[in-house]
């Protein structure tokens, strides 16, 4: 079933299918466009229409009532394509265009016009864009910069707006694009031709100046809104670019905690040690990636859309971005919650050693470090983590896992408590992880020797395993910390500044973290609360 329309061709009425009508109308419009400048153009068109009416009549003779698209196509075949009509129109001009293709009237040089079909304000930028073959967005941004820095852009634009005429007719638009004015090119543009063809050149020129002024005033207010919109677009773009640069910088910078290019751990190792399973890891990574990328893409898209005047509107992109973002929230939180859950129980394993009661001064020192550089600080504040952590085939060695504290002993011998601690998904698991920590310590005579790092079975993964050494000092006795202990974390012995306990005893490390051995008298800790 097809819808039909009624047409009057040369005084005869035909029922013609709607799609056939469209084809016929375009065809006649093209021919009209070709001859509109010729004297007798109307007459030619009438003759052509009369002939078409005649041909339709012949076709409808056999009891058919409606002109179909097939009929129209056949008629066009008989009559010839619009460009065939010009075979002899050009023979008047044949002398001066004989060298070139017979279809060309003229070989136009590009002219500058304002483009009404692609404008933000008056189409000046797009006009210049066509003239110099540059994307108008670049010119708009340049103009905007000119506007922001110096403000000359505004007057420049207004002047250009007034001076440059608007491309109104098809031939002007073609000339603006530097296209040849011939049947093929007019054909492409002919749909807008009919509205503009009636306005003659002289008419338009006379009117145009006042018109342009009015048009300018009228658009200037609407334009302000658009300018603000564009500024938002620029802001979006800058923000998105800034975020991207920030992101890249964060990933590549040597100071970054995320640094994965240097000596740090590979993603696979991090996945193994921290996430305890691929599922958690991929959920987290995908989720976080979506959370970071969707807003950036959204901003870029918004910027492009605003700056191009909705030219690059991708249907459904906004919605998909929002959906992706929500998916990101869910996956990221699932992954992270499941990962964090593996840490939420706490387990400890303790071991107590005691010195003989004749020890007056306990000397504490670290064992030689054969895993990390001995001059590295292991206190977790001044060194990136990957320099104090190491993954071997079956062990994870953590230089940051040891901390040291001083307490108050109630008996007359030194008590040394070694507390191994770990997190885990369940209490028993956490205790098991804690027991799996291997930490070397020895108390020989009055010297306590400690390993500067802990070793963890690789299959346990990183569960925040740590070892805390608490030395309980009896009343009247002293602890001497060797200077190499400054490498590990000393919890109630602050470094880099003087420290005054309640009874006035002074503890001091110098600022370069290379203290001489420090003596702490037990008296000083009498009132010290842990």
């Amino acid at each position: 079933m097809n819808k039909t329309v009624t047409v009057n061709i040369s005084g005869f009425v035909f029922y013609i299918e709607e799609n056939a009508y469209a084809v016929l109308a375009t065809y006649l419009n093209r021919i009209k466009a070709i001859f509109q400048s010729d004297e007798g153009g109307d007459e030619i068109l009438n003759d052509v229409e009369a002939r078409i009416a005649e041909l339709f009549h012949e076709k409808l003779a056999d009891k058919k009532e409606v002109v179909t698209i097939k009929d129209v196509e056949q008629v066009i075949q008989v009559m010839g394509k619009p460009e065939d009509y010009t075979d002899d129109t050009s023979f008047e001009n044949a002398q001066h265009s004989s060298g070139s293709s017979s279809h060309n009237y003229t070989n136009e040089k590009r002219k500058i016009y304002r483009d009404p079909d692609d404008k933000v304000l008056g189409g000046v930028c797009s006009g210049f864009g066509h003239y110099f073959d540059i994307d108008p967005i670049i010119l708009r941004i340049a103009l905007l910069l000119l506007l922001v820095f110096g403000g000359t852009g505004f007057f420049l634009y207004i002047i250009l707006w007034i001076v440059i005429p608007k491309a109104e007719t098809t031939s002007e638009k073609l000339r603006m694009h530097g296209e040849k004015i011939n049947v093929e090119s007019i054909k492409k543009k002919v749909t807008d031709f009919s509205n503009s063809a009636s306005v003659t050149n002289t008419n338009r020129r006379a009117r145009s100046f006042i018109d342009r002024l009015l048009e300018l005033l009228g658009t200037i207010f609407g334009a302000l809104g658009r300018i603000i919109l564009k500024l938002i677009g620029v802001f979006f773009g800058v923000l998105a670019i800034g975020l991207l640069i920030g992101l890249v910088a964060a990933l590549l910078s040597p100071d970054s905690e995320l640094n994965i290019n240097d000596n740090s751990f590979s993603l696979a190792e991090i996945r193994e040690m921290i996430f305890h399973g691929n599922a958690n890891f991929f959920l987290s990574i995908i989720g976080v990636t979506l959370l970071i990328l969707t807003p950036i893409i959204g901003l870029i898209y918004g910027a492009i859309r605003i700056l191009s005047g909705n030219k690059y509107a991708a249907r459904g992109l906004g919605t998909s971005l929002i959906i992706l973002f929500i998916i990101g929230v869910f996956t990221a939180s699932t992954g992270i919650i499941r990962t964090v859950h593996g840490y939420h129980e706490d387990g400890t394993s303790e071991e107590i050693m005691s010195s003989g009661s004749d020890t007056e001064n306990l000397h504490v020192m670290l064992l030689p470090d054969d895993e990390f550089h001995s001059n590295l600080n292991l206190d977790g504040q001044h060194t990136p983590y990957w320099e104090v952590m190491k993954l071997t085939e079956n062990q994870f060695i953590n230089g940051q896992g040891v901390s040291f504290e001083i307490g108050d002993s109630k008996s007359d011998d030194f008590k040394i408590k070694i507390i191994k601690e770990s997190q885990g998904g369940k209490s028993l698991e956490a205790i098991n992880f804690a027991e799996n920590i291997s930490f070397y310590s020895e108390l020989r005579g009055d010297t306590l020797r400690l390993s500067p790092y802990i070793r963890i079975p690789r299959e346990d993964g990183y569960r925040s395993q740590r070892v805390e050494i608490v030395v309980y000092v009896p009343e009247g006795k002293r602890v001497t910390l060797d200077k190499n202990t400054s490498r590990i974390q000393l919890n109630n012995v602050k470094k880099g500044k003087s420290y005054i306990f309640e009874d006035g005893y002074k503890l001091h490390y110098d600022e370069n973290y290379v203290p001489k051995s420090i003596e702490i008298e037990s008296d000083s800790l009498k009132n010290y609360k842990l």
Partner: protein
């Protein structure tokens, strides 16, 4: 150089002469003229004819009268004016000369 283009240029020059010749014998309406031209492959599509006829008419070489048709709109029957007749005579003369010249030259060339 495009051969089709050259052919078209050649055809174009004699088309006008041929149309006038057809009308020199009798009155005709465009479709009649067309069928003759198509037969001799001077024209392929009808559209080309209408602008040409209008131009010749505007130049005063042709005139037309309307005639009712049983199968469609009234038809324009064209015939030569007196100016057209003398124009045709002159064209015939120059065509003969031209034809002779072309024949002589091409014969010489093919010998």
């Amino acid at each position: 150089m495009n051969i089709e283009n050259t052919k078209a240029q050649m055809r174009k020059g004699i088309l006008e002469y041929c149309i006038l010749s057809i009308l020199g014998n009798r009155e005709a309406y465009p479709s009649d003229i067309l069928s003759e031209l198509k037969e001799s492959k001077l024209l392929v599509v009808e559209g080309t004819l209408y602008p040409l006829l209008t131009r010749l008419k505007n130049a005063g070489l042709l005139t037309y009268r309307w005639e009712e048709s049983t199968s469609g709109p009234p038809r324009k029957y064209y015939k030569l004016t007196t100016v057209g007749e003398s124009f045709l005579d002159e064209l015939t003369n120059s065509w003969k000369e031209l034809n002779k010249a072309v024949l002589t030259i091409t014969k010489k060339a093919t010998k």
